[in-house]
């Protein structure tokens, strides 16, 4: 019953009967997939198919020749489907379904192959023929609906809807589905309903995401008439959370952070493992020697990049890279590239006293020691005693001798000791970790978790600030870094915690509904998709004064101080990692404190190109600000309050209790005032300056 195909009028062909039997299992599977994480092999599968899709463009000419033979060979398959085809001629289906259909077909085919059924032949055919077949299938996009309808009881209704929906587009569908991108349209309500019953397969979703983003990026030209941006966005959100298995909360947060064009890249990058990087221990060897030794052991490596003189990237290795004799002898340390950055930003100097507030597993601690050439002292703290074992092991293995390892809760640290020249606070992600390493994060985190850890982070940052000695001749710096390999931290920690926190000091910044200081743009973020390292946020702050502002009595002063602080902000340039800020009651103080800081900055610039514009206008502006502040005091108070109530809700009771009539900046000061520093320096009783450089 061979039948010649007319290439101009492509015949629709669905899966064979046996293939259709598989269908139930497959849709089941799809449900699981959307619920949980995506097994890697599925992703691969779909990507491969996507690829063959594109091939269909240039493979076309071959088709004509072979069509005949093929149709002969496959005659039985086609024959089985004839009934369907007849119906399909009339019926149509919305655009997005096409993809789904292709996919189903292919999947079926593969599955059927395993069972050695009818389609076996086609499976064994040469590549050309296969692509040919696929092409055909693509051209007959419609079946899936029919198939589904046949299986679903509700099929009837859908058919009608589809017809009405799709009539207009029929011609396009048949002729060229290559440029589906152009005519992406939103699925209707009925389809959405259907999806709820029969989830789409991932490839369809992926395609839809791409199309959707494309439309959103050129909204005015590509939009569908009468559809609002919100509709597109809500569909995109849904698809993203399906495809990448994030929960809606996180996707929303991510969408706030990234432009849409970058969002998909970012999510994609999170699925990929970062390359293994190692750091040379310059206390024991040199990078050149180490590289040579490792190459001799059959390791394929390369220098990490121009920005690091100690990093090496491992491409592949015939020996376990964590157990070579060189590793055991302490010649290098396995460490993600992103972990280099905070230490480089900290740029510890020889002979200084440095605190690493959450040190486990010791990568950063040993890097600090290496930069200090084993002089001075490092206090390596971690709240988790078990994780400290690895710190101790690594310290000894790498031959670091200037370290004290202790096991305090970081929040108590100012009570233990203070006066550090530099403090590194690698804020813990409270178990969120890095998504590439722990996929559970994607689904398990919600607002509550994030707020809880946000609060912890804030306390840690305050403790860290208290531990810094502003009078240190060479230092007085705090580096705050956050590893977020993923969204959880991107949104929560960075934007909410840190910025929120910093907005204590800089009350005029804005992020969406919240306001942040512009100088925060100078903080540095590293994203997986743009830097191929785990996501990271780094901010460098300089402390200007040890004096703790105090006393509940002079509330009014605090108010003015706070507002002055905002105006006295100096910001830096280029790499953007510097922010400077003063909070001062008196302009003069700000000035004197500011000057030495400036000098220090030159020394400690990590990326070497960062410079700081001198705070020339600092004192003057502060003065002006003071005047302003007094006049607008009331207004400021009000706005701060509203901000507090908005922003502080998360951080909760502690703040809100105190906060009935008070403004946030002052609350923060009170909290500092409660710690030991305050008790020790009660007599000083003035104001403090904190400068952030990021």
């Amino acid at each position: 019953m061979g039948r010649k195909l007319d290439p101009t009028n492509k015949v629709k062909r669905g899966p064979g009967r046996k293939a259709r039997k598989q269908r139930g299992a497959e849709t089941e599977l799809a449900k699981f997939i959307t619920d949980g994480d995506i097994p890697q092999f599925f992703l691969c599968l779909f990507y491969v198919q996507g690829f063959t899709d594109e091939n269909s463009k240039w493979l076309k000419p071959v088709k004509k020749k072979q069509k005949t033979d093929e149709s002969e060979e496959d005659s039985d398959t086609e024959w089985e489907e004839e009934e369907e085809e007849e119906q399909e001629e009339v019926k149509l289906q919305p655009q997005p379904k096409e993809e789904e259909e292709d996919d189903d077909d292919d999947d079926d085919e593969e599955m059927v192959d395993d069972y050695g059924t009818v389609n076996d032949e086609s499976g064994e055919k040469s590549g050309e023929e296969e692509s040919d077949e696929e092409k055909k299938k693509k051209s007959m996009a419609e079946e899936s609906d029919e198939d589904e309808d046949e299986e679903d009881e509700e099929g009837e209704d859908d058919d009608e809807d589809d017809q009405s929906d799709g009539d207009m587009e029929e011609e396009d569908t048949v002729q060229a589905n290559i440029d589906e991108m152009d005519k992406f349209r939103l699925p209707g309500a009925e389809e959405a309903e259907k999806e709820a019953v029969l989830p789409l397969d991932l490839k369809t979703v992926y395609q839809r995401i791409k199309d959707n983003v494309d439309v959103l990026c050129n909204f005015s030209s590509k939009r569908e008439e009468g559809k609002s941006r919100a509709e597109y966005i809500s569909l995109l959100k849904k698809d993203l959370s399906t495809y990448y298995s994030y929960n809606h909360f996180l996707i929303e947060k991510l969408m706030d952070i990234f432009p849409l064009s970058e969002l998909v890249d970012f999510l994609e990058a999170n699925e990929i493992q970062r390359p293994v990087t190692i750091r040379t221990n310059t206390l024991k060897t040199r990078r050149r020697d180490l590289a040579q030794a490792l190459i001799n052991r059959g390791v394929n490596l390369d220098p990490l990049g121009k920005w690091s003189k100690v990093g090496l990237v491992i491409f592949d290795s015939s020996v376990p890279i964590g157990a070579t004799p060189e590793y055991l002898a302490g010649h290098y340390m396995l460490q993600g590239a992103s972990s280099f950055l905070p230490v480089m930003a900290l740029s510890p100097q020889e002979g200084e006293l440095v605190l690493d507030m959450s040190s486990a597993p010791g990568g950063k601690t040993t890097y600090i020691a290496q930069l200090m050439r084993n002089t001075g002292t490092i206090v390596a703290n971690d709240a988790n005693a078990d994780r400290l074992k690895s710190v101790v092991g690594n310290i000894h293995r790498l031959g670091v001798t200037n370290t004290v390892v202790c096991n305090y809760d970081g929040r108590q640290f100012p009570k233990v000791m203070g006066g550090f020249d530099r403090v590194l606070l690698d804020a813990p992600c409270s178990g969120t970790g890095v998504i590439a390493k722990d996929p559970a994060v994607k689904t398990s985190k919600d607002q509550v978790d994030i707020l809880r850890s946000a609060h912890l982070q804030k306390e840690l940052l305050l403790a860290a600030i208290d531990s810094v000695n502003a009078e240190s001749p060479s230092g007085g710096y705090l580096v705050y870094c956050l590893k977020y390999g993923n969204c959880v931290c991107v949104c929560s920690r960075v934007t909410h915690d840190f910025m929120f926190l910093i907005s204590f000091f800089f009350p005029s910044c804005r992020f969406r509904e919240r306001r942040f200081h512009p100088s925060l743009q100078l903080t540095r973020r590293f994203y997986p998709h743009s830097h191929n390292m785990d996501g990271f946020f780094v901010a460098k702050l300089k402390k200007f004064s040890n004096v703790i502002p105090t006393t509940p009595s002079d509330k009014e002063d605090d108010v003015t101080e706070a507002s002055e602080g905002t105006t006295a902000v100096e910001s830096a340039e280029t790499k953007g990692v510097k922010t400077k800020k003063t909070v001062s009651g008196q302009a003069g103080t700000a000035h004197t404190n500011g000057t030495p800081a400036k000098e220090n900055n030159k020394k400690t610039n990590v990326k070497s190109k960062r410079k700081e514009s001198p705070p020339a206008a600092g004192p003057k502006r502060a003065k002006v600000a003071k005047l302003d502040a007094q006049t607008v005091k009331a207004a400021v108070k009000k706005s701060d309050q509203s901000k507090a109530s908005k922003a502080a809700k998360p951080d909760g009771k502690k703040l809100e209790k105190k906060n009935a009539t008070k403004m946030k900046p002052r609350i923060k000061k009170n909290r500092i005032g409660k710690n030991k520093f305050n008790k020790l320096k009660k007599m000083l009783n003035k104001q403090d300056d904190v400068v952030g450089q990021c």
Binding site: A323, G393, H396, T403, V404
Partner: protein
């Protein structure tokens, strides 16, 4: 954390002197500052005075490690050197043994050194002398005790043990929990 008692100091120094002999005084009198030994939770730590002062801020139960851990006193008050002391033993070692690349890995897994894997050995090593084990690239790998004197080593058959294993850098991974 407390200074070592007379007896503890004696025990420990005796042990140390097996490996570095009279070089032990170089550990105590250093040109770059005063260094001292302190006992904390049965472990002996070696640190500079500067770090010592800082460490006094930290309460005993919260202190995990200071400076370099040299080893620990066992319950029978013997002193046992840990691999963490290698950084200070290796530079001052009086007697050394070099092992061939093939044997390196075996030694790092905790095995004794056989004659067949022996690359070089310091002249005049006596039997039961403490030795530091190096790879042929002069990377210190651990330490042990010579099972044979240098003369005997020349004669014995390839499969006999020449160095008894005591500690090797593989312990950084194998015994991470008990190092300190």
């Amino acid at each position: 954390m407390r200074p070592l008692t007379e007896e503890e100091t004696k025990t420990m120094f005796e042990k140390l002197s097996k490996y570095i002999g009279e070089n032990i005084k170089l550990l105590v009198d250093r040109p770059d500052g005063t260094y001292c030994f302190r006992l904390h939770k049965d472990r002996v730590y070696y640190m500079s005075e500067k770090i010592l002062k800082l460490a006094t801020n930290i309460s005993r139960d919260k202190l995990v490690s200071v400076g370099t851990c040299f080893g620990k006193f066992t319950k029978t008050s013997k002193f046992r050197l840990h691999i963490t002391a290698l950084d200070f033993l290796a530079p001052y070692a009086k007697f050394k043994v070099w092992v061939k690349p093939g044997t390196e890995q075996s030694f790092l897994y905790g095995n004794h050194v056989l004659k067949s894997g022996l690359g070089r050995i310091t002249e005049n090593t006596e039997q039961y002398q403490g030795v530091v084990v190096y790879s042929m690239a002069d990377v210190p790998l651990g330490f042990g005790v010579a099972a044979k004197s240098t003369q005997e080593c020349r004669r014995v058959d390839p499969m006999s043990i020449v160095v008894f294993h005591q500690a090797d850098v593989g312990e950084f991974i194998r015994n991470e929990d008990t190092l300190t």
